[in-house]
């Protein structure tokens, strides 16, 4: 009798467990796993140039054609360039703010709030503000003497840098918060010991702060890179992928294949591009996990 009721209780517990997981699992199945897997299937079909014609099975041909095409390679190069323009600059600036604010001074809380203030802006808000500031008529940059022809956001050489500048500013608050938390986690006695050994401020920064902060910095680099590879809103608002596709990052190219403004939607091509984006993100995540694992190992 006892074993029977225990088995019963175990069964009840299991069904409660499944019941509690059901809502999340349903959302994941419908909106994450199914669409993820369907990308691979969509990639096997070539979409017709006009709607309402049947699509054609082409197997891996479409993968090969798209991933080997100049437009994909250009888009990938643009995305990588964008990551290199945003991540190091963003972290360097965030670091400068975090170090500057990491002092015991009266009123430091106000400065900390100001430094984290861009968290309140969204990508869209930042993009709209800066696109106005770049504007040759109402903008301030032209007044400051930065007034190239063609104007910044229509200039093939400058547009990506301009979008990167917006991104760096918009993410600065987050980077600051993250690095500040990392700085504050460094034990004070390390600095005291270094100071006793005669280390000046510069030496302490390079020998104590940076090594102790390296896990946080590394995390910021990975998250920043993943974010850079998924950037979309600022490009949609400021440049629409132009001029001459110079800001056509991967996510924007997926979006272009889905919107029907200029041509019939091409889900097959969008799916292949999405798979490429997934592989890149996965690579970055795996690198992060590998390095973090190693760090934990060393710490023991």
């Amino acid at each position: 009798m006892v074993t029977n009721s225990r088995a019963q209780r175990r069964r009840r517990e299991a069904s409660l467990g499944y019941l509690l997981l059901l809502p999340a699992v349903t959302v994941f199945a419908v909106f994450i796993f199914y669409p993820f897997l369907r990308n691979f299937q969509l990639g096997f079909y070539l979409n017709p140039p006009f709607p309402n014609l049947p699509k054609r099975w082409v197997g891996f041909d479409q993968y090969r054609d798209i991933l080997g095409s100049d437009s994909f390679v250009d888009s990938l190069k643009t995305t990588i360039a964008f990551a290199f323009l945003t991540v190091p600059a963003g972290i360097a600036l965030g670091m400068a703010l975090a170090v500057a604010a990491n002092r015991k001074l009266k009123g430091i809380g106000i400065y900390r709030t100001i430094f984290s203030s861009t968290v309140a802006t969204s990508v869209a808000v930042a993009a709209v503000i800066f696109s106005m500031l770049f504007n040759p008529i109402v903008g301030l940059l032209p007044w400051l003497g930065v007034n190239p022809t063609p104007p910044i956001i229509e200039n093939p050489d400058l547009a990506l840098g301009a979008v990167a500048l917006v991104t760096v500013w918009q993410t600065l608050g987050l980077t600051f918060i993250l690095l500040s938390a990392g700085l504050q986690a460094i034990p004070e006695d390390l600095y005291e010991a270094a100071a006793l050994d005669g280390a000046g401020a510069t030496t302490r920064f390079w020998r104590v702060t940076l090594p102790m902060l390296s896990p946080t910095l590394f995390f910021a680099v990975v998250i920043g890179s993943i974010h850079a590879f998924q950037s979309f809103g600022q490009i949609d608002i400021i440049t629409n992928g132009g001029p001459f596709k110079r800001t056509n990052v991967l996510t924007y190219s997926i979006y272009s294949e889905l919107t029907t403004a200029n041509h019939a939607a091409n889900p097959g091509k969008a799916a292949v591009l999405a798979i490429a984006l997934f592989v890149i993100t996965l690579g970055l995540t795996l690198i992060q996990m590998r390095v973090l694992e190693r760090r934990v190992h060393y710490a023991r």
Partner: protein
């Protein structure tokens, strides 16, 4: 906070060092804040004055009409309402599904628990951008294009949330659950009365994080709606910019309006955001 070096310094040197610190901090603060400041200033100027050179940095005669124009003519009131509806639905959904799943993983035993946990973590590997192609079809097939459901339902659960709450639940002492069982508490009562209150910091972090993420969404609301009555603030702002330069002050006012709600929430819950952000980053 960093310890000041324990060397002897004359008061004047110390004062100089302090002044230097404040100078650096103030310069940095001006640089960071400038785009927001100029946005507020420009929202209070007439378009002619925004374009005049040298630019006006201190509006002596503020024109507040741009805010009324953005609110009514620019539909910012409607966009804000849409953003609030969608954001609150998403945040509430994420918190509830995370508590449920976190509870199952932390307190219950059932077959395939580990496998299911790995499935939850696997969702973190798939960026939303990768799923939009089919999600658009799904939302169309369900008749959810241009609806609040279409904007909210795909985001009602996250692997991150379930993981965060599970970790917090695992800190709840076993004795408590044993004692609760003796008192005749069922799992539901234990979850609501004991586990959730104890996991409040994690749940608060998840709430702020979810709210911020949902409010700032851009790609999905752009793809999943066409009807202006369903547009959220972020997309509405883009449309506000598209109007001519004659109304550039209205666009700046719109940007300010879009920032205010989230700024208030952040000022109130800053602490929780920091905790949510650093949950994965800063540890031992």
């Amino acid at each position: 906070m960093r310890a000041e070096p324990k060397r002897w310094e004359s008061p004047s040197v110390r004062r100089l060092r302090k002044a230097g610190s404040y100078t650096i901090l103030t310069v940095l603060a001006v640089v960071v804040l400038f785009p927001i400041y100029i946005t507020v200033v420009n929202s209070l100027l007439r378009p002619v004055d925004i374009a005049s050179r040298p630019p006006t940095f201190f509006p002596t005669h503020p024109h507040w009409s741009s805010y009324a124009d953005a609110w009514n003519g620019g539909h910012m009131a409607k966009y804000l309402l849409n953003s609030f509806i969608v954001t609150i639905a998403i945040t509430a959904g994420q918190v509830v599904t995370a508590i449920f799943a976190g509870y199952a993983f932390a307190f219950l035993e059932f077959p395939f628990k580990r496998t299911l946990f790995v499935v939850f973590l696997a969702t973190l590997m798939v960026p939303f951008e990768v799923t939009v192609v089919t999600n658009l079809d799904t939302v169309n097939a369900l008749g959810w294009y241009d609806t609040y459901q279409g904007l909210a339902v795909p985001f009602l659960a996250t692997g991150f949330g379930a993981f965060l709450v599970r970790q917090a639940f695992l800190q709840v002492p076993r004795d408590l659950s044993d004692a609760a069982a003796l008192d005749g508490y069922g799992h539901w009562r234990f979850m609501i009365r004991v586990a959730v209150p104890l996991a409040r910091p994690a749940i608060a972090a998840l709430t702020v994080f979810g709210f911020l993420g949902a409010w700032n969404q851009y790609l999905w609301p752009l793809l999943a709606t066409k009807d202006d009555r369903l547009r959220t603030v972020q997309i509405g702002l883009k449309q506000l910019r598209a109007t001519s330069l004659d109304a550039v002050n209205v666009t700046f006012a719109g940007a300010v309006i879009a920032v205010i709600p989230i700024a208030i929430i952040l000022l109130l819950f800053q602490k929780h955001l920091v905790r949510g952000l650093t949950a994965g980053a800063v540890k031992g």
